[in-house]
């Protein structure tokens, strides 16, 4: 196992900068998720660690060594691909043992090792099948086995679960979580599924347009998203963001928006600085912190109902504030909620997030 670091790494494709001046450190034994929307540069970053792309500028370090220009085969890494990249013409044993084959191991030895790993991953009984003859979940574990069959310094995962159906994804996620705790491997894991990142990572790097916008632990990212972008990306459904007009009134902060009633908030220095830059702030409330409220409650948002989806143990109630601005509440109840045409959702003041006009988080008084 080894640490990984990016130092001012930029990768351009022609004019286009897929990754811009990114620096970060991944400690030995850490499990870091790269999280971000499609096209934000996650895969490109991962591939630079693997050596499948060469940075336009900057250095990539593994275990303290500058490997920027090393060939992938000389980096001693293991990688799991989104499409698994299992070789359809080899049976599972040969697939799993392939890295050992190219390392020149004898047939008997490498098959023994493949069996060992496969047993751990509960696919030991399938070794003579072809990839096309096993299920998606088993394929996923095979590709994992191929990565684990030899001792690598760093394990790289490029959306390894995104091709699995919901149930298998959950199962595989649990398995990876377990593995990480057991092996203490250094891993970099690319995903655009925030639930996966939350469940697996020791730290998450949220990326947007080739840059890292927040690099912190899952809880931190969930509780204190650094920007509206992060807030909107993490959480399922994501945080509701409401544009508000802020005024300082009587030493308190007054927020105004259509359908919104909210008690005045205490002023802080940070809010003052933010207000100086512009009076349009963004109010954020996570869906799970909203509930159906009576019309007269103190902190509420009211708008016509857009969708009301019951999904067993929970319901999603969405209201439409017009022009695509929707607010969703996630309510933990296993019964259908009867609602009228117009719905009022209530929240507690201490669950409120505030962002300045540039979308940056305004720190809480106690934050």
């Amino acid at each position: 196992m080894a640490s990984v670091a990016f130092s001012k790494v930029t990768k351009s494709f022609g004019e286009f900068k897929a990754v811009s001046d990114v620096s970060f450190d991944i400690g030995d034994g850490e499990f870091v998720c790269l999280l971000g929307p499609s096209g934000c540069g996650k895969t490109t970053s991962l591939r630079m660690i693997a050596g499948l792309e060469t940075p336009t500028s900057g250095q990539v370090m593994i275990g303290g060594e500058d490997v920027t220009h090393f060939h992938p085969k000389d980096r001693n890494i293991a990688m799991v691909f989104q499409d698994y990249a299992l070789y359809p013409h080899m049976n599972l044993a040969d697939n799993i043992a392939y890295p050992l084959k190219v390392r020149g191991e004898a047939v008997s030895k490498r098959h023994a090792r493949a069996k060992e790993v496969a047993d751990v991953l509960k696919i030991g009984h399938l070794l003579d099948r072809l990839p096309s003859q096993i299920s998606g979940g088993q394929q996923q574990r095979t590709s994992l086995a191929r990565a684990l069959v030899y001792p690598a310094q760093v394990y790289l995962f490029d959306e390894p679960l995104s091709n699995l159906d919901a149930k298998l994804r959950l199962e595989a996620r649990g398995f990876l979580n377990h593995l990480q705790r057991d092996m203490g491997m250094t891993a970099v894991y690319v995903t655009h599924d925030q639930a996966e990142a939350m469940a697996l990572a020791t730290r998450i790097a949220v990326m947007d347009q080739g840059r890292i916008v927040q690099y912190a632990s899952p809880i931190e990212i969930y509780r204190r998203p650094a920007t509206t972008f992060v807030a909107n990306f993490v959480g399922n459904p994501p945080m509701n963001l409401v544009e508000v007009e802020a005024t300082k009134d009587d030493g308190k902060l007054q927020l105004k928006a259509d359908g919104l009633t909210i008690a005045a908030l205490p002023m802080t220095d940070a809010i003052g600085t933010a207000l100086a830059a512009g009076s349009k702030l963004t109010l954020g409330i996570r869906p799970e912190h909203l509930d159906v409220a009576g019309a007269g409650a103190p902190n509420t948002i009211t708008a016509p109902l857009f969708a009301n989806e019951n999904m067993g143990p929970e319901s999603l109630v969405t209201i439409d504030r017009g022009e695509g601005a929707r607010v969703t509440a996630r309510i933990f109840t296993d019964d259908h909620i009867a609602l009228g045409e117009t719905v009022t959702l209530g929240f507690a003041a201490d669950h409120v997030h505030l962002f300045d006009s540039a979308g940056k988080r305004i720190p809480e008084i106690n934050g």
């Binding site: 220009h69 090393f70 060939h71 000389d74």
Partner: protein, 274 residues
């Protein structure tokens, strides 16, 4: 470690470039000879540079007519092969007619007999019986028949690799099978058809034997036959004219290839596999 990776890439590029150059070598002569007043089989920079050979060739009415004839026959043949092969390959790929799998293989084998000189006589007799001797149509039909098995073979594999959901969605939307074919399937198959078109054009354009057996009047002869007029009775080639005419004669296929690869991309899109 930085270097091996780079070296590998350079070695690959060099090797590829060398092979490319090796393929170009035999053709170099053609770039020079036509512009020489007096060409030898040797490679010589034209000195003096002259276009007189081209003047002579352009002045040869028979040779020019022959190019036009080649064009008529090749274009006619290509249209027929393209259309018939597309329809047939589509049927072989999409309908559930029994035994369709074996058909193309068997035809392919049959065509291996027929492409040899052994079958020239029956083909002559057929065309003669049909009263088509010495017509462009005779050449066009014969080529179409001969090229079709391979064209169908290539195109069927290509169509097999295209999702059926294109046509299915068209039909669900209300299209009849014929509409679905023309509106949706045909445009999607086009890259495959393009390959067939180039392939059959090249075949017809360069072929000597069939037009030779089926045509009589010099007014109908294609360039592949006409090029022999630059040989004497004893086979004496007038090298310079031959080279000039060859160059002119080659241009259409090269132009077609360049056009097609620029406009559509000339490659077997994942098609053709057993």
């Amino acid at each position: 470690m930085k270097f091996p990776a780079l070296f590998g890439r350079i070695a690959f590029s060099t090797l590829a470039a060398l092979i490319g150059a090796a393929f170009a070598l035999p053709l170099l002569w053609f770039l020079f000879a036509p512009f020489n007043a007096r060409a030898e089989l040797g490679l010589a920079i034209p000195d003096p540079f002259t276009l007189s050979n081209f003047n002579t060739v352009f002045g040869n009415g028979f040779a020019m007519q022959a190019l036009w004839n080649s064009l008529i026959q090749a274009v006619g043949g290509v249209i027929l092969v393209g259309a018939a092969a597309t329809l047939a390959a589509y049927a072989l790929s999409r309908s559930s007619i029994p035994g369709k799998g074996a058909v193309t293989y068997i035809l392919l084998l049959f065509s291996s007999v027929v492409s040899g000189s052994a079958a020239m006589v029956p083909i002559f007799l057929i065309i003669s019986a049909a009263g088509l001797m010495d017509t462009h149509l005779a050449v066009i039909l014969t080529f179409a028949g001969g090229l079709l098995p391979t064209a169908m073979f290539i195109l069927r594999d290509f169509i097999d690799s295209i999702p059926k959901s294109y046509e299915e969605s068209a039909m669900v939307a209300g299209a009849s099978p014929v509409q679905a074919f023309f509106d949706v399937a045909l445009p999607v198959i086009r890259p495959g058809i393009v390959v067939i078109v180039v392939w059959s054009f090249v075949n017809i354009w360069g072929s000597f034997l069939i037009p030779f057996i089926l045509l009589r009047s010099s007014a109908n002869m294609p360039a592949a036959v006409a090029i022999y007029s630059f040989y004497s009775e004893a086979g004496t080639p007038v090298v310079t004219l031959l080279a000039a005419y060859s160059l002119i004669y080659s241009l259409p296929v090269v132009a077609l290839y360049l056009f097609v690869s620029w406009r559509f991309g000339f490659r077997f899109f994942g098609g053709i596999k057993a």
